[in-house]
């Protein structure tokens, strides 16, 4: 379980995040939703120590993340941010192999190679491993980065808007992939989502954020409700049930 306690982040005097308490249960897929500037990415950055909090702490299965060595944490928690522009021209295999850095520090063993192959297979990029990333389509590139996270073989995997700039086909494929990572590999997946229908269909838990605070948490039917979502986004949102599935209509 990821436990967030009194966590806050200020830029100058401006608070961007202020969370008294938040528990992300172990297992399953948790979706973080909310309007732009709600602090979703900041929360993910603080949990994965890409950014340092102004105050408060994050506990990973009871251990304060600040007390863990950086490679020890990287063996338990992986994160993928939105901005993945690389200066170096890496091949898919180069990239995914970095997922084994916390284990082997660059000297890949046979086990590491097997893990890399397995991750490539899971995202459906076997056969592409010697391609350069700039030779791939946006969807393949995103899957390569997800393979990097999977190769890291952590209990927790955090994704910041992994569906950005993907067409619907690839977006669905990526979301199913994350679902499989939770169901078949037993990972805890935390994902920031903008499209509420993806959250409604693929998540187990939903965390709704607004103005740096967590305003609602619960299962999908508990949070994906018109009366909660309308004030959250400040617009007209309808939630209906079709064939027993929640459909969010944001088009008024």
């Amino acid at each position: 379980m990821i436990r967030v306690q009194d966590l806050s982040k200020h830029y100058g005097a401006k608070p961007v995040l202020d969370i008294d308490a938040l528990d992300l249960p172990k297992g399953g897929v948790a979706a973080i939703i909310g309007p732009n500037g709600a602090g979703k990415s900041t929360l993910l950055s603080l949990i994965s120590r890409l950014d340092t909090p102004s105050a408060g702490s994050v506990l990973l299965d009871g251990d304060d993340i600040r007390s863990l060595k950086s490679d020890a944490l990287a063996r338990r928690l992986a994160v993928l941010r939105q901005d993945n522009a690389l200066t170096a021209r890496l091949t898919v295999r180069d990239l995914v192999a970095f997922g084994r850095y916390p284990y082997s520090r660059g000297r890949l063993t046979a086990t590491d190679q097997a893990k890399v192959d397995e991750a490539l297979g899971l995202v459906g990029l076997d056969g592409f491993e010697d391609r350069f990333l700039d030779e791939l389509s946006g969807g393949q590139r995103q899957r390569a980065f997800i393979a990097l996270v999977l190769a890291q073989d952590t209990d927790y995997a955090l994704f910041d808007e992994p569906l950005n700039s993907l067409d619907i086909n690839h977006a669905v494929a990526v979301m199913r992939l994350l679902r499989r990572a939770a169901d078949e590999l037993g990972k805890t997946v935390v994902v920031v989502l903008h499209d509420l229908n993806f959250a409604a269909r693929h998540a187990d838990h939903v965390i709704a954020m607004q103005a740096g605070r967590v305003v609602h948490t619960g299962t999908v039917p508990e949070v994906i409700r018109a009366e909660l979502l309308k004030p959250l986004y400040g617009m007209d949102i309808n939630v209906s049930t079709i064939d027993g599935r929640l459909i969010v209509d944001v088009f008024g």
Binding site: L86, T87, A88, R105, G106, F132
Partner: protein
């Protein structure tokens, strides 16, 4: 590119480079030699050692600087490092006079220069990486402004100085492979060796920096510590090379980018040796051209920048 293809290409290119480098060494030592061979060889061999040291220090420092800043256009010289060196030299001669400067223990002078440059770089580091944080444009701007400031100050002092003193100074602040003393060579070699050992230990972490700051932290690199260490090592390397031959760090940009182009995405253990080989070829080649074709009329920096500049433009045009 498969790992095997990459290894094969690395072997081929470095093999060819070693051959070219060896041919240049022979040419440098023998072409146009008259008189006593033992004198010629020891005199030219001494220069060759300086060339080899600079060819290690500059490409290594440039590649490390690129990795640290996650940018392949920046060089330590853009950040004003060697301009500072010129300023220190100029200020020394201006304030104390060349006769007084010459009296000091050269080891002491070297240590003082090293200390001043390290202090400057640490101040810059604090400013850039803790306060201004991650804005690359700002980093560039601050560096360029520092460079211009140092150059202008040095230029002003050079105009005010006694013409005789200026001649002495000129020897120090224009790149040349002939002036280096034995003590400077030993110091520089020790610094380069130290940097090499540090590199050996940190290679995998440096590779992981190719993922960018966030990516590197995500796979468990202690990013803060690593960038700080890299910054210190780069400073020491630049100090070593500028103290040896003067400001000549531009060619590092060229050979580093050449190596990236030949082996895209390759780890540092492949890139660094290749960049060093290219650097050696460029420097030794430039020195041969200067001595044999131009008859010493000019500076080696001129030749390097002329040849290097053309190559760099070709590199940019040839980009897909």
């Amino acid at each position: 590119m498969s790992p095997e293809a990459r290894t094969t290409r690395a072997r081929q290119v470095s093999g060819a480079s070693v051959l070219v480098g060896a041919a240049l060494v022979v040419a440098f030592l023998t072409v146009g030699a008259v008189g006593d061979w033992s004198f010629v060889l020891s005199f030219r061999g001494d220069k060759l050692i300086t060339i080899a040291l600079v060819a290690c220090a500059v490409p290594l420092s440039t590649v490390l600087f690129h990795t640290m800043s996650d940018n392949r256009i920046l060089t330590p010289s853009i950040m004003g490092f060697d301009a500072l060196f010129v300023l220190i030299q100029t200020a020394g001669v201006f304030l104390l006079g060349s006769a007084r400067v010459a009296q000091f223990d050269p080891r002491l002078v070297f240590a003082a220069e090293l200390g001043a440059m390290t202090l400057f770089s640490l101040a810059l580091y604090r400013l850039l990486f803790t306060r201004i944080a991650r804005s690359l444009e700002l980093l560039l701007l601050v560096g360029v402004i520092c460079g211009v400031l140092f150059r202008s100050l040095a230029g002003l002092l050079q105009r005010l100085i006694d013409p005789g003193e200026f001649l002495v100074l000129q020897d120090r602040v224009f790149a040349s492979f002939s002036g280096a003393s034995g003590t400077d060579q030993v110091w520089a070699a020790m610094l380069i060796l130290g940097a090499g050992v540090w590199c050996r230990v940190r290679l995998p972490a440096l590779d992981a920096l190719m993922l960018g700051r966030n990516g590197a932290i995500a796979v468990g690199v202690d990013h803060r510590r690593l960038t700080f260490e890299t910054f210190v090592v780069v400073t020491l390397l630049v100090a070593a090379s500028t103290a040896l031959v003067g400001p000549i760090t531009f060619f590092g940009l060229l050979v580093a980018n050449l190596a990236y182009r030949v082996l895209p995405g390759a780890p540092h253990r492949m890139i660094v040796p290749l960049a060093i080989l290219f650097g050696f070829i460029l420097l030794a080649g430039a020195q041969v051209v200067l001595e044999r074709l131009l008859g010493f009329t000019g500076t080696v920096g001129m030749v390097v920048e002329f040849v290097g500049g053309i190559l760099f433009i070709l590199l940019l045009i040839g980009r897909r």
